[in-house]
Symmetry: C2
Subunit: 208 residues, 2 copies
């Protein structure tokens, strides 16, 4: 039988050491580098660094918000499922409203996707929250609309929707507007695993 | 406000058309190409095609198993969370045993990760199942061990663990052994989203 490393802690340490040796992290602030390591770990691509865009305060702002008990608002159930609860510093609520019974009718009324309509149910929770959008570009666009309408401003926005329609544009709009401290990945790459990795990294300084 | 496409169906159609225009799908069998489109859609990278490895019967075998009511066995809760239930043809069970109370003690006894130990709870369900491993290389290695010990053979294996320790090796071992019809992505790339996309594509011929 093939021999392989079976110790979870050792696997993490080897993985993170390989990433730190290969990825060009020197250009990043220390705390963002820590987040980048975890994001790279989740996708297997060290060149993800080249596409990272962020505000210098995003990790500090996100972590402070979580320590103060802020909820994490996710656009996809996969993200809510992937966030490691024991890394969250204050037993923070992790909320995804996509499956809420009100969403289909809301989507029809707004003439948009369910992913975007689901954000309307975040309206009262947005102020000071940590937003994690890793699936739908329409959700990120909808966030800008809600903020333009006067919704409360999040403490930090992890905005990494993925794909071929609107992903590039929504993330460039996030960079241009910067309505709050943010972290994103330019281009088509993105997804739930990257959003989860970013939240798990921001949640605590502990690597393991 | 930025204009953007808000119609979910139109977003899918545009996305899939872009992928079919850009990705080198001609080298793939038709049914595998359909799965590749969905996997590319989930990660934003058309060059994923270059790393696909598979047996010619994997889509047919996986779909037939699901139509006959086979369960989907997942190594990560994110995968179980991401599989679109209404695409499954027979109300199939989607099972992830990672959070089972017995797993921590099992992992300690076996001297392995919880992800790998969780597979021991699949033992009686493996025969004829659709396996979706998208996170832990140790889970894929453990699957080989269970099969070597005489566990029932799955109908199809989606084996796309991600990362820097064991991912490459476990997937090369899958290709070399081919213990059942399989689909994998060579190299470090992989993850829950790719596993979910593959299962969602295999589940039904319907694209939308």
């Amino acid at each position: 039988m093939t021999d392989y490393i079976r110790d979870g802690g050792e696997i993490y340490r080897h993985s993170f050491a390989t990433i730190r040796a290969e990825a060009d992290l020197a250009i990043l602030p220390d705390d963002v580098a820590g987040v980048a390591v975890r994001m790279i770990h989740s996708c297997g691509m060290v060149d993800l660094v080249d596409d990272l865009a962020y505000t210098l305060d995003v990790v500090e702002a996100g972590r402070a918000a979580l320590e103060a008990g802020a909820p994490v608002l996710c656009d996809a159930n996969m993200i809510a499922s992937g966030i490691t609860r024991k890394r969250l510093p204050s037993g923070n609520e992790v909320l995804c409203t996509l499956s809420d019974d009100r969403v289909p009718a809301l989507a029809e009324r707004l003439g948009t996707t369910r992913s975007a309509a689901a954000l309307d149910l975040w309206r009262d929770r947005l102020a000071g929250s940590v937003v994690a959008i890793g699936n739908a570009p329409t959700a990120l666009f909808r966030l800008f609309e809600l903020l333009a309408e006067g919704a409360g401003v999040p403490a930090a926005i992890i905005g990494v929707p993925v794909g071929f329609v609107g992903a590039v544009e929504s993330k460039e709009a996030l960079i241009e507007r910067a309505p709050a401290p943010y972290l994103t990945v330019r281009g088509r790459r993105g997804g739930s695993a990257l959003a989860v990795a970013a939240v798990n990294a921001i949640a605590t300084k502990e690597e393991l």
